[in-house]
């Protein structure tokens, strides 16, 4: 299966939210990583077919999704960001309703709902009103809803928002288990969520894909650019102004130890560190934060 996104552009008035994106997605987990406002949600909405594009096209196995229409939506599972649902519905009823909208009916729908509730660990609250669920439980309900029709294209917009660590792990395992023969598109800014499970990472910045590759490939980009330096506390500010500063931790030698992503060695005494995805993120978005702050 191949989901081809060609020259997709979305403008809101004058503002370009997604700028000429070209990607071809294949089976596996594809993580979409980017700062707030970088256009992840907009891109995913267009892939989910709920938002029209200004330019470009999306096709599944060579056929335009607008022409495929309901056949495309039939294989689609979508969890929107800030997933909204009917507060007065019981959990069970909401899923049955979604089943009906997805074209599943009768006994099969009931069975599917029970399975999905079990999968996301909500089997005990199936008779509770959605309004009475905690934020994380609601998010899990959103995940269950997306999986009802056993989709081969799964679009998840920040699915782990609000999940506790245990649920996060459960969710990660679920994604691993599902990823074998389907396309999973997963938007997030939580790097740790995807470092183990993503087969491919797309970095989005200001509506464009600025980096695209497997985790290793991305790590290679920042290889030799990640440094660890011990500094005094009063030096911290000048470092932060000059470089993209990552994790700050206690130091045994001086006041603090800072992690810096930089093309040049920031200090004589700086030691090269082993890069992780956080550093990749920082490499691309470190400056953005500063530009935004200065505005």
């Amino acid at each position: 299966m191949e989901l081809k996104i060609s020259n997709i552009t979305k403008k809101y008035g004058d503002k370009i939210a997604v700028d000429n994106v070209n990607v071809t997605l294949e089976n596996g987990v594809c993580a979409l990583l980017g700062a707030n406002g970088s256009g992840k949600t907009t891109l995913m909405r267009m892939i989910a077919g709920v938002l029209g594009n200004t330019k470009g096209s999306i096709s599944l196995d060579g056929r335009n999704i607008e022409i495929l229409d309901s056949a495309y939506r039939n294989v689609l599972g979508y969890l929107p960001q800030n997933f909204g649902c009917y507060k007065d519905f019981k959990v069970k009823d909401f899923l049955l309703y979604m089943c009906a909208l997805k074209g599943l009916d009768g006994k099969f729908a009931k069975k599917r709902c029970e399975e999905m509730l079990l999968k996301v660990g909500l089997e005990n609250v199936s008779n509770k009103k959605i309004g009475a669920l905690s934020g994380g439980m609601k998010q899990r309900l959103g995940i269950a809803q997306a999986l009802l029709n056993d989709p081969t294209i799964l679009i998840l917009d920040e699915p782990t928002a609000g999940l506790d660590p245990k649920e996060r792990i459960r969710f990660r395992n679920l994604i691993c288990e599902l990823s074998k023969d389907r396309i999973i598109i997963y938007a997030t800014h939580i790097v740790s969520d995807i470092s183990y499970i993503a087969d491919r990472v797309l970095l989005m910045k200001a509506g464009r894909i600025v980096a695209d590759g497997s985790t290793e490939e991305l790590l290679n980009i920042v290889k030799g650019k990640v440094w660890s330096v011990d500094i005094m506390r009063n030096e911290l500010e000048s470092y932060q102004n000059k470089y993209s500063v990552g994790a700050i931790s206690d130091s045994k030698i001086k006041d603090v130890n800072v992690r810096i992503v930089s093309d040049v060695k920031p200090d004589e005494k700086a030691i090269e560190a082993l890069p992780d995805l956080d550093d990749v993120y920082l490499y691309y978005f470190g400056e953005v934060a500063e530009v935004e702050n200065s505005n």
Binding site: V50, D69, P80, L96, Y97, A100, L101, Q145
Partner: protein, 419 residues
């Protein structure tokens, strides 16, 4: 499809605004309808007390061109008998407002003329009126017999007078337009019905139910508007629109299912309002009686009311749902719906509207629910069993509903997703 519609209905009844309005409407309509029927039953309202019939069931009376003369002479003979009148003022006073022709019935217009000519004083005029109120009336034991003669004769003569004056007017004002043609058709039908003969009977239960309904139609429309105003804007404000749009059924089907839900909702509300209006009257005042009019029976009338309510409700709901798909804010939806509903209603009061504009106005959603005016008086007057009279309304509504449906699909699809 069935499951979706079921849950869509649940959504309506779950909505706080809708359920509050439904509850209030229910309490008001049951209260008004029940109270009114009780008042008639106890005689605080209406022309006579049921009890005054001495518990007698009023018999059906057949009137036709052939037996009317006999009935008139029987009535005259009956009215000339002294012993049928009540002379005890104490009893008579409880019959204030009775409209049966009593022995000392007075000519009010003659009295008025007398006042304006200065022949009598104002005080004398009022005394005459109060004398009238305590004038002797028919004794209880003769009431049923009297009614049996009086009612058919007076109904027959009022209908035939009406036919005559209409014919007279049609001859004088010979324009031959659609309005006059339909008027003539009605008159001819009525004349035929009278010649063939009709059955008059006591029908308070039915006529009161019908009267109740005509008061409560606005309440029905309010319930429809408030129940459906959230259809799409509710999805927008909850942020469920994106979820729904991404499912197999898609936008067009989803909107279609919303429309189907609206039709079912209107059906439920029409049945409810009819039951609420008719049931107390029928239970308290009796089911007996039909065919009081010349053109349609009570059951037919009820069916007509129901169809008008349903079609009117559906056509209003398409408008409401279109606005609901346009706006996020409920208040805008309500405002726009009320404006579109009420404007055609107000336009009806423009003097000297030509017949075609009148028909068009009457076909618009809000007015359509107030059935009988255009269906019978001004437009076509044929048995509702002959479905013809519904054709314009149905055709008009199907066309406008389909158009509004596509507009709704479009505005729902284009609506900006917020979550």
């Amino acid at each position: 499809m069935k499951t979706v519609i079921k849950y869509e209905l649940i959504k309506i009844f779950n909505s706080r605004l809708a359920s509050v309005v439904l509850l209030i409407a229910f309490v008001i309509s049951v209260g008004v309808s029940g109270f009114n029927a009780i008042q008639y039953k106890t005689g605080e309202k209406g022309y006579y007390k049921i009890n005054d019939m001495n518990g007698n069931q009023f018999p059906d009376v057949f009137v036709s061109a052939e037996n009317i003369d006999t009935l008139v002479s029987q009535l005259n003979e009956f009215e000339s008998r002294e012993e049928i009148y009540e002379t005890d003022a104490g009893i008579v006073n409880t019959y204030v407002g009775i409209t049966f022709k009593g022995k000392y019935d007075i000519d009010k217009s003659a009295l008025l003329r007398a006042v304006s000519n200065g022949e009598i004083t104002n005080a004398e005029y009022h005394k005459a009126l109060s004398d009238y109120q305590s004038a002797p009336c028919i004794k209880k034991e003769y009431l049923a017999d009297y009614f049996e003669l009086y009612y058919p004769v007076s109904c027959y003569s009022s209908i035939s007078n009406n036919i005559e004056s209409t014919l007279q007017w049609l001859i004088e004002d010979d324009l031959g337009n659609l309005y006059e043609t339909s008027k003539l058709a009605k008159v001819i039908r009525e004349e035929q019905a009278l010649n063939k003969g009709v059955v008059f009977t006591y029908d308070y239960g039915w006529s009161l139910g019908e009267e109740m309904l005509s008061y409560l139609v606005p309440l029905y429309l309010i319930v429809v508007v408030f129940g459906l105003c959230n259809m799409f804007s509710g999805e927008y404000s909850l942020g469920t629109d994106s979820l729904v749009k991404s499912t197999f059924r898609g936008r067009k089907k989803f909107v279609l299912m919303k429309y189907s839900t609206a039709i079912i909702y209107c059906f439920i509300c029409s049945v409810a309002i009819i039951v609420i209006c008719y049931l107390p009257s029928l239970v308290l005042l009796g089911f007996s009686g039909y065919n009081v009019g010349t053109v349609y029976t009570n059951i037919e009338m009820l069916l007509l009311k129901f169809v008008s309510l349903l079609i009117g409700g559906i056509s209003i709901s398409t408008v409401v749902m279109f606005f609901s798909s346009l706006f996020n804010k409920l208040i805008y939806v309500l405002f726009a719906s009320v404006i579109t509903a009420v404007i055609p209603y107000i336009l009806l009061y423009i003097p000297n509207l030509d017949f075609t504009s009148q028909i068009i106005l009457h076909l618009l959603p809000f007015n359509l629910s107030f059935d009988s005016y255009w269906l019978f008086d001004n437009y076509i007057s044929i048995d509702i069993i002959e479905i013809f009279c519904f054709i314009p309304a149905v055709v008009f509504n199907v066309i406008s509903s389909v158009t509004v449906y596509f507009m709704t699909v479009k505005s729902f699809s284009k609506h900006r997703i917020m979550n």
